[in-house]
Amino acid sequence: MIEVNNLQKTFGKGDEAVHAVRGVDFQVDEGQIFGLLGANGAGKSTCVLMLATLLAPTGGSARVNGFDVLEQPNEVRQSFGAALQETGLDPLQKGVELLELHGRLYGYDKATAKARAADLLETVGLSSDGGRRIGTYSGGMRRRLDLAAALIHHPRILFLDEPTTGLDPASRRAIWEEVSKLKSEGVTVLLTTQYLEEADQLADHVAIMADGVIAATGTPDDLKAGMGADVVDVDLADEAEAIRAAAAVGSEAKVVGNEIRISATDGPAVLARVMNQLREAGIEPKGVSLTQPTLDDVFLNLTDGGSDHE
């Protein structure tokens, strides 16, 4: 479990002060995946680094696995595993050496650490590369090794700061599967991502950060529903036809060029009704589409991209 209360971080002083995090509250229950979304510079990594005991909060408090990040840093450190945005790997070390060393530092004996390392290399698909120096790994391989290192001591809490950035689709999917599996084992995950699809797929709860605060929070479905409407678009031959069609459908239909657009909470039913009305009026549509809001819409609406959103 992760509990965050009014967490704040200001870098620098005076004129140069950056208020990176300005009072963030959230809670992630045991075995839940919490997705933190936000544009570049929103404060996601700063939050993660404070929870990972690498940055001292300038205000508020946080508990990880029941331990206070300021008062009980070593208990917190034994509880979490982290794959941070900047991976921090030594290029001269071999993959398997990293995992075995860390296994031992977290408290396994030599043989156990060896077995655990072999297991994890297989999990992340690096079994045949473990004997190579990390400096020879591709970016995606480094991310996967980083995830393996985060898991070495079976942490109850996992911090994943943009774990799939730069990964190919197959590797991304493999990581999603691994994260889902960890969740089913009761691991609590805090995940930041730029991919809304990723949050939609994985997260039980999502918070959207903008400018150091949480601008919206809820389940992915809640947030999408909060955006309101599904949109039905009907393509017609020309503008005159579109005007006739709008008259046939009624006042909720708006003419947009050669199209009519109807916003409704119940898109599929409205689509069926509109198709009937058009057929009765003898109007032949050239195409129809039904768009349901995505997390992208929610995201763009809340962040700087919002101004571009209709």
Binding site: A52, T53, L54, L55, A56, N74, E75, R77, Q78, A82, L84, E86, T87, G88, L89, D90, P91, L92, Q93, E97, L101, H102, G103, R104, L105, Y106, G107, Y108, D109, A111, T112, A113, A115, R116, D119, R133, A149, H153, H154, P155, R156
Partner: protein
Amino acid sequence: MSDHTVAPTKPASQATQIRLLTIRMLRKVMREPAVTIPNLAISVFFLFTYNGAFGSSGVTSFPGVGGNYLNFILPVTVLFSSISGGAAGLTLVADLETGYFRRQLSMPLSRASIVLAAILLGAIQVLVQATLILCLGLLMGADPAAGVGGALALLGFALLWGMGFAGYSVATGLKTGNAQAAQAATFIFFPLMFLAPVFLPMEQLAGWIQAIAKVNPTTYMLEAMRSVMIQGWVASSLIKGLVAAGIFATITLTAAVRVARSKTSRA
């Protein structure tokens, strides 16, 4: 072997941490010989060149040199090899640059273990390089007046002096976080190194150099090591050398601890 499918209960003891982290750093250093070899090469170079240049010249007849110039020059090269203690700071800087240092801070490790491992690495470097140079010197015909114990005393002095460099490199390296800066900082030791009775006895130096050499701790280190090589056990020389090296090491290691404290605590 315990079960690797369940979490370990508590982190490794501090002794284990230091041992494992030191081994990691040793591996790292051995995989990057370009960083360590030059220092060793320079020490060997000095040994051969100066012994070749002055060994058969009339210098040996100067008072203070003794009959064997090799005995006179070997302490210089051993002292030079102790600069390799700087590996401590350079390795930490490399870890800062790759972000591995920060990764260690996110683990349940004692902050002291991380820095102590680096200092230990420096100590091992000095001992290995100084031993190689010493053995080479003995093979070439150096014969310490204080015998085998004298040879070991030379290593002890190299180690103590090397700890001074280790502390200095850790302090500057962690402070700047930049390999070039840490490397450049070691250049201030060149004047210290050479404004001392390095190739000639004190009495043969120009007056102004003598004046500087008298306040240069390197002088007392060299004279202590030379006394062991040329005269045998001379308490006053040994004590002066120990005090000079001790002060140097204490100052730099204290600075290292202070910088490390601030660097390993949360920003």
